[in-house]
């Protein structure tokens, strides 16, 4: 039941209507799923497009983690017991995202890491948040509070998307991850060669 992501993610403006926090987050999950879907459909023969999509996915996912960790989880700590686990799952997502960024988009490894990222994401976004935490939050937190948190989430997401500083930090992280990937895989290849001898 995948909803198509609406238009390019960057140009969306904050609309006037209010949305609950869970709806804001679920919609953003769909944006991320859309990017992941596009990435899956892009063949290894188009490494540049794959790389650009990976960059976009990296940024959106990191921003998603950030707004959840900064705003949503602290606000819902008295409503649900699932926060600590969700936080761990974010750690997991970051690790897997790093593995994807570090993989060569032409390689088979890239597809493998992408598959795992899909599993990690679905485990966190669907099985944990959408099916367990969000219904619990919606039941106990009250509409008004959820809308208030929703507004804050959207405002923060917008400000992150348009912040040059935030963008620069994310770009730096991606670059560092890619640069060091060469070193460690090189080392590993060297070890394998030595073993083969």
């Amino acid at each position: 039941m995948r909803v198509k992501p609406q238009a390019p993610t960057r140009v969306r403006r904050a609309p006037a209507e209010h949305k609950t926090a869970t709806r804001v987050l679920t919609e953003h999950h769909e944006v991320i799923r859309g990017l992941l879907g596009k990435l899956k459909e892009t063949p290894p023969s188009e490494p540049h497009r794959r790389r650009a999509l990976t960059d976009e996915l990296f940024d959106e996912l990191r921003m998603h983690e950030l707004i959840e960790e900064e705003i949503f989880y602290p606000a819902m700590r008295d409503v649900t017991t699932g926060i600590a686990a969700a936080w761990s799952e974010h750690r997991h997502l970051s690790d897997q995202l790093a593995a994807l960024v570090r993989a060569d988009p032409r390689s088979e490894r890239f597809d493998r890491e992408l598959g795992v990222l899909h599993d990690v994401l679905e485990s966190h976004a669907r099985l944990d948040e959408e099916q367990e935490m969000f219904p619990e939050v919606e039941r106990f937190a009250g509409e008004e509070r959820l809308v208030e948190v929703g507004d804050r989430l959207r405002a923060r997401l917008e400000s992150l998307r348009s912040s040059r500083r935030a963008r620069a930090i994310l770009r730096l992280q991606r670059t560092l991850l890619r640069r060091t990937a060469g070193l460690t895989t090189g080392r590993r290849a060297g070890r394998a060669r030595r073993r083969a001898r």
Binding site: E69, W87, S94, D119, V120, L127, Q173
Partner: protein, 304 residues
């Protein structure tokens, strides 16, 4: 008296959510560094957790600084200056190893335990600084200063050691958190066989036990639906290279034996025995390990 003071100290740390922000900053820094080095999975990580031992590695290493620095205290009293410095140095090496393994364990903890762990680590860093300075001063012949630094550092590691102990005994970090249960005693139907897809974990109930079912390469496996590390739900995890991965902290377990492959879980996940009858998957617990030919092994005849 002592009990009440310590309890109050512990409650104060556990209830202080101001520790969460620095804790998460530290974890994110660690995560990024580990990702740059490419060590978030694989053997290095498991080695530091103690998977190779089947026992947490960190608590073993902490005995080195505590023991060596206690020895240094005695040697200082008896006036053996050079030997005392060697003891302090040995303690420093052990403390560094304990710091690396401890940080590695700490990053996969939750809530209260994470706060206690942060204070534990901070105190140890202070002690490490004091003993490092002590070692350096002793090397320059200033044994008096070295002794004072060691005297200041000792109570710090004592308190910190206490906090570290509570992480095991109170928060059960590093303990096997799955219950060893006998139920269900007989083979119990859990799911029609055709409802279990290949390669995706599925949650089912056998009596009052939650079970994670997995079909991999055509074989049906069943594990108790709780990771031995912090009881994460394995049924919400995924498969990677033929192993089931815990969705919370990424512990990977061999499907057939439950053996932990990379940590943070150092204990095996609990596997159940499975069979298919009349189109239904049935499970029951495996008997506890017993010597070959032992009575319980003989009773459980017809095992794979």
């Amino acid at each position: 008296m002592a009990q009440r003071v310590l309890d109050r100290l512990l409650n104060a740390i556990e209830g202080d959510d101001r520790l969460d922000r620095p804790g998460h900053r530290l974890e994110q820094g660690l995560a990024f560094a580990q990702n740059l080095l490419g060590v978030t999975r694989g053997r290095a990580r498991g080695f530091l957790h103690g998977v190779w031992l089947g026992h947490p590695f960190h608590p073993l290493l902490t005995d080195i600084p505590i023991g060596a620095w206690t020895t240094a205290l005695v040697l200082d009293l008896r006036g053996h200056e050079r030997t005392a410095r060697a003891a302090v140095g040995l303690g420093l090496a052990g403390a560094l190893a304990a710091a690396v393994t401890g940080l590695n364990d700490w990053q996969y903890t939750h809530d209260d335990a994470r706060r206690v762990g942060l204070v534990h680590g901070t105190l140890n860093t202070i002690a490490l600084g004091l003993y490092g300075w002590s070692w350096w001063q002793r090397g320059r012949g200033r044994h008096g200063r070295g002794r004072i630094a060691a005297l200041l550092g000792y109570p710090v590691i004592a308190i910190s050691g206490y906090l570290g102990g509570t992480l095991t005994y109170r928060h059960r970090i590093g303990a096997d958190q799955t219950d060893r249960r006998l139920d269900p005693r007989r083979f119990t139907r859990v799911l029609p066989e055709r409802d279990l897809p290949e390669g995706r974990p599925h949650r089912a109930r056998a009596g009052d036990v939650d079970v994670a079912l997995v079909r991999s390469d055509g074989r049906v496996h069943a594990l108790v639906d709780a990771c031995p590390h912090l009881r994460g739900p394995l049924s919400r995890g995924w498969l990677r290279d033929g192993a089931i991965v815990c969705p919370w902290h990424g512990s990977a377990f061999e499907l057939r034996t439950g053996e932990s492959l990379n940590g943070p879980a150092v204990h095996p996940a609990q596997c159940l025995q499975t069979r298919v009858r009349d189109g239904w998957i049935e499970v029951r617990p495996r008997a506890a390990a017993s010597p070959p030919g032992g009575t319980s092994a003989r009773r459980q005849e017809g095992w794979p």
